[in-house]
């Protein structure tokens, strides 16, 4: 790689002009991928350079910083710069990659030079994006970063804000918090339910009973390969179809009102905290007392069992009496100002859950449960066969085998993929926007439409999702450490 090499080469070429042609041809053939890539890079970077230079003109980003040195970036200057700069960069990048490829450097040099070439190649794009973002930040409202808009009146209403109550004049923060609570409600409930259902179907798929295993396989395959959006929308429309209209609502003992507009149930009101605490104390006291009785072992004679049963019933009686005193149930009251105008009917008191919430619950639970069923099946199948055989030879019943031998071992390989599925469930809850269930994503979308500040809103949204994911991961990692702390 010295001057003398090129001098010698040109002497050769002088003697044999054909060699130059051959060498050029070989060069083209050997590096055609690189050449094509560089051509595309040239086209791209030309465009990006031109736009960056246009942004550097006076007036685009206020008074430019180079104003003292260069009076103006004129149009001819931009034209010539955006013609030469991409050629220069493409040539540099091509040379850099070519020399990296033929391997003249030792590993350390290669690392350093590789990073340099990479940085060089990225310069036009980074420059453009930084300048464009600065420009947008100054001119476009949606790129203005400031959180004042979150304190303003929200100006819209939520279709489901249980258990909170929101008004038009509440700040957008409050609406966002209600959205988070809605999403968390759905996700926590559906994680719990789908774990139960999924474990059932995962175990049932391994059952020796052919019909049961085929049926659970069909369940899993059907709901696993259907998009969640279609399922959610299907459940919403089906619920709207099945549930009665508002004027024909199902009324159960004046306590529950079910229609396709809303579902009302009694509200539980805490009257006296003292009696609630007393109720809790009665349970705790029962636990301590039985521990005291069992300190020499459980008395399983007939007399002892009868006494334990009396104790159970007595405690339950006391507990329920305390609860009855502590809480009152508020009955939802249907008010009909004009019995013929169904739109004017409303409820006083009581709690309300929306149909969208139920559709969301059904869809999300089923979709997560089939994933969990697959995980459960996989981790049970990966257990050594000898474990089950040993359990059989110990004389354990099928349920005991499952509870005492299989599940505790399968949990070790089950929890990491389950963590993944729970995270998916948390992210999938964002599809609530399709069936107009107001989780924080739907609230954010409305806020973006109303206030127009998209960037801070989306940053808050992504942070919320990240924090939620980290919470779920933390809980699952704690469970994982609990499960794997026992060495087998």
């Amino acid at each position: 790689m010295s001057i003398s090499y090129y001098v010698k080469y040109f002497e050769n070429v002088k003697n044999n002009p054909r060699k130059l042609l051959d060498d050029s041809w070989n060069f083209l053939i050997n590096n055609w991928v690189l050449l094509v890539g560089i051509y595309f890079y040239y086209i791209l970077s030309r465009n990006f350079f031109r736009q960056s230079l246009l942004l550097l003109q006076e007036g685009q980003l206020g008074v430019p910083f180079y104003y003292n040195y260069i009076t103006a970036l004129t149009n001819p200057a931009i034209d010539s710069l955006s013609f030469w700069l991409p050629i220069l960069f493409s040539g540099l990048v091509f040379t850099g990659i070519y020399y990296l490829n033929i391997g003249r450097f030792n590993p350390k040099e290669s690392d350093r030079n590789g990073q340099l070439v990479f940085l060089l190649a990225l310069i036009p794009f980074i420059m453009y994006f930084i300048l464009q973002l600065l420009y947008l930040n100054q001119t476009d409202k949606s790129w203005y970063f400031g959180l004042e808009y979150m304190d303003e009146d929200s100006g819209f209403q939520l279709s489901n804000d249980w258990p909170w109550e929101t008004e038009l004049q509440d700040s957008r923060w409050k609406f966002y918090a209600v959205g988070i609570s809605n999403a968390a409600r759905v996700v926590v409930l559906s994680i719990i339910l789908s774990t139960i259902i999924g474990t059932f179907f995962g175990v049932a798929r391994l059952s020796t009973n052919l019909v049961l295993s085929k049926m659970s396989e069909a369940y899993v395959e059907f709901f696993r390969n259907m998009p969640l959006v279609v399922q959610l929308f299907f459940w919403l429309t089906m619920l709207g179809d099945i549930l009665p209209r508002h004027n024909e609502m199902w009324i159960f003992w004046d306590w529950f009102y079910i229609s396709n507009r809303t579902i009302m149930f009694p509200r539980i009101i805490l009257d006296s905290a003292l009696f609630f605490l007393l109720a809790l104390f009665s349970l705790v006291g029962f636990r301590f007392y039985t521990n005291y009785l069992d300190k020499d072992g459980f008395d399983d004679s007939e007399e002892g069992l009868r006494q334990r049963m009396y104790l159970w019933f007595g405690t339950l009686l006391v507990f329920s009496i305390f609860l009855k005193v502590a809480f009152t149930l508020e009955q939802p009251e249907l008010v009909k100002p004009n019995p013929r105008a169904y739109g004017t009917w409303y409820f006083n008191g009581g709690e309300e859950i929306s149909v969208a919430f139920i559709a969301m619950m059904i869809g999300l639970t089923i979709y997560t449960s089939v994933q969990i069923a697959e995980i459960v099946r996989g981790s049970i199948q990966s257990l050594p066969r000898g474990q089950v055989e040993a359990a059989i030879s110990l004389g354990l019943s099928p349920f005991q085998r499952l509870r005492l031998v299989i599940i505790p071992q399968a949990l070790r390989s089950m929890i990491p993929p389950m963590n993944n599925q729970y995270l998916n469930c948390w992210k999938n809850s964002s599809l609530a926007v399709i069936i107009s269930f107001s989780d924080h994503f739907a609230v954010t979308y409305t806020i973006v439409n109303n206030a127009g500040q998209a960037v801070p809103a989306f940053i808050i949204l992504l942070l919320t999702y990240q924090i939620g994911s980290m919470l779920i991961s933390a809980i699952m990692n704690y469970l994982n450490s609990r499960v794997t702390s026992v060495k087998i």
């Binding site: 465009n47 990006f48 736009q51 246009l54 490829n101 391997g103 290669s110 690392d111 590789g114 990073q115 990479f118 940085l119 994006f129 973002l133 947008l136 476009d140 949606s142 790129w143 059952s207 020796t208 009973n209 052919l210 019909v211 049961l212 049926m215 395959e221 696993r224 390969n225 259907m226 998009p227 969640l228 959006v229 279609v230 929308f233 299907f234 429309t237 089906m238 179809d241 199948q381 990966s382 257990l383 050594p384 066969r385 000898g386 992210k427 999938n428 964002s430 599809l431 926007v433 399709i434 994503f441 979308y445 998209a454 960037v455 989306f458 949204l461 992504l462 999702y465 990240q466 994911s469």
Partner: protein
């Protein structure tokens, strides 16, 4: 004598151990008959409720007899598998409950699909579902898609022909599909935009030409690659992959050639748009995933930090959020350099999103490749790029093939989310079809149809994935015999 307690013993005495020789055939025949009997029973019931005439079958008894026949057929299946299904009292209860659920499910499904559903909503809007509203109102533009159909036909025939399987395994299902397509093309109850019958001769000619291409390419490639060496088949498959990419590019070219005429990507829609989005995002996403996976594993901070940041940021949010960002914020950034339409932006975001998940999958695969492979390749004198691309990446892809295919399935299902951007994909069309005045409220039909289309392709892909797993020897059969 031993006391007989279980139901199986009693039944075996009653039926004197009847055991059919062709068990599977009997089971299939019994299930089919059960289905047919149930269908007949429901049909009779529906006929009685529809016509208030004095029909010869006008009695609930007739329908109930067919229901009884159907139950007997199901119990014959149960009897054949009696050792499995009725071995203990718990099993008897489970089986009976399961049979009850299956029976109820079948009853509901049959009466919905064959009697209460109005499938006309699908049939009348078939072009809307397949190509979106623009191609429906501009019927002549559909001609732009025929070259794609021809190319796909040739690719399909060649791909199945070079697998080296029996002829009938492809020919029978394909002939069935071809038959259905011919019927679909020629049988029309009401074409869009008119009350007359449309002239289907040209369509039929083109369709028959397509089938000719498929059969010819299948038979030729089957003949040629029947006894070929493995490397020849592999070379052919590589050529086919390149051909698929070329076909994709040509499809885009024919649809929207440079110039004024052509269909703007913003006007595409329907199921075919879902296909285009999914295939583009899979190919581009694979590139993104490979780059990010190697970047994240790199020891150089300039490569590893940005890759990690991109992967973790994009994985932190749901796809819907990124789609909205593509819809609202991306145009602001890209407008001066690239005036991208909605579909291109969606492809960009979808490929980035799936690429980030793929990068995490591939990273696991890259970590699982033994270090000796890299050392051996380096000592052979290969450069780092060659080692990564020719030695390490193929092994990593091989290990993670099931996860990659499930990622692809996820991407295919996720293409139904793009309706949020106002693009008329298949799901969006299915959502708005029940707003037509003739078909008000026919949500179950439209949604189930589109859902089943998504389902069939995902299911097909997952079956292919299982096949690949088996052929690569990745599957540990036998319920974990290994310890």
């Amino acid at each position: 004598m031993k006391k007989q307690t279980s139901l199986a013993d009693k039944m075996s005495v009653w039926f004197s151990n009847y055991e059919p020789t062709q068990k599977l055939l009997h089971v299939r025949a019994a299930l089919f008959l059960g289905f047919i009997f149930l269908y007949t029973a429901l049909a009779i019931e529906k006929a009685r409720s529809w016509f208030s005439l004095d029909l010869p079958f006008d009695s609930p008894l007739i329908a109930n007899i067919f229901v009884l026949f159907s139950i007997i057929s199901f119990f014959y299946v149960g009897y054949i598998y009696r050792d499995n299904l009725f071995s203990s009292n718990v099993n008897v209860l489970t089986t009976l409950i399961c049979f009850y659920f299956i029976f109820k499910f079948l009853e509901g499904t049959i009466s919905f699909i064959f009697f209460s559903a109005n499938w006309e909503v699908i049939w009348v809007n078939r072009r809307m579902l397949a190509f979106g509203p623009y191609f429906t109102s501009h019927g002549e533009e559909v001609e732009r898609l025929w070259p794609t159909v021809y190319m796909m036909a040739v690719l399909l025939g060649c791909a199945y022909g070079s697998l080296g399987e029996k002829l009938q395994k492809f020919l029978i299902p394909f002939t069935f599909v071809a038959f259905c397509l011919v019927i679909g093309a020629t049988y029309n109850i009401r074409p869009e935009g008119g009350s007359g019958h449309y002239d289907y001769t040209l369509t039929l000619q083109r369709l028959l030409f397509t089938f000719f291409l498929t059969y010819a390419s299948f038979l030729l490639s089957h003949q040629y690659y029947k006894d070929a060496e493995e490397y020849q088949v592999n070379l052919f498959h590589q050529i086919l992959s390149a051909g698929a990419v070329l076909a994709f590019i040509l499809t885009i070219y024919f649809l929207d050639p440079p110039g004024d005429d052509g269909v703007n990507p913003g006007e595409w829609g329907g199921l075919f748009l879902n296909f285009i989005l999914a295939s583009a995002a899979i190919v581009l996403g694979f590139g993104v995933g490979v780059v990010l996976a190697f970047g994240r594993r790199s020891s150089l901070p300039l490569f590893s930090w940005p890759s990690t940041t991109i992967i973790e940021t994009i994985r932190s949010g749901p796809l819907v959020a990124w789609l909205f960002i593509a819809y609202i914020l991306l145009p602001d950034v890209l407008m001066p350099v690239w005036d991208a339409d909605r579909v291109s932006r969606t492809i960009l975001i979808l490929s980035l999103f799936s690429g980030c998940y793929l990068a995490e999958i591939l990273r696991g695969g890259l970590q699982a490749v033994p270090a000796g492979q890299k050392e051996a390749a380096l000592s052979l004198g290969l450069t780092t790029t060659q080692v990564n691309m020719l030695i390490i990446l193929p092994q990593a892809v091989r290990i993670t093939m099931p996860a990659i295919v499930s990622n692809m399935i996820g991407l295919w299902k996720d293409t139904s989310l793009i309706h949020l951007l106002g693009i008329h994909d298949a799901f969006q069309v299915a959502k708005v079809l029940p707003a037509q005045w003739e078909f008000v409220g026919l949500y179950p039909e439209a949604l189930l149809f589109v859902g089943m289309v998504f389902w069939i392709i995902s299911f097909y892909l997952s079956k292919i994935s299982q096949r690949i797993e088996k052929s690569l020897g990745l599957k540990n059969e036998g319920g974990g015999e290994m310890t």
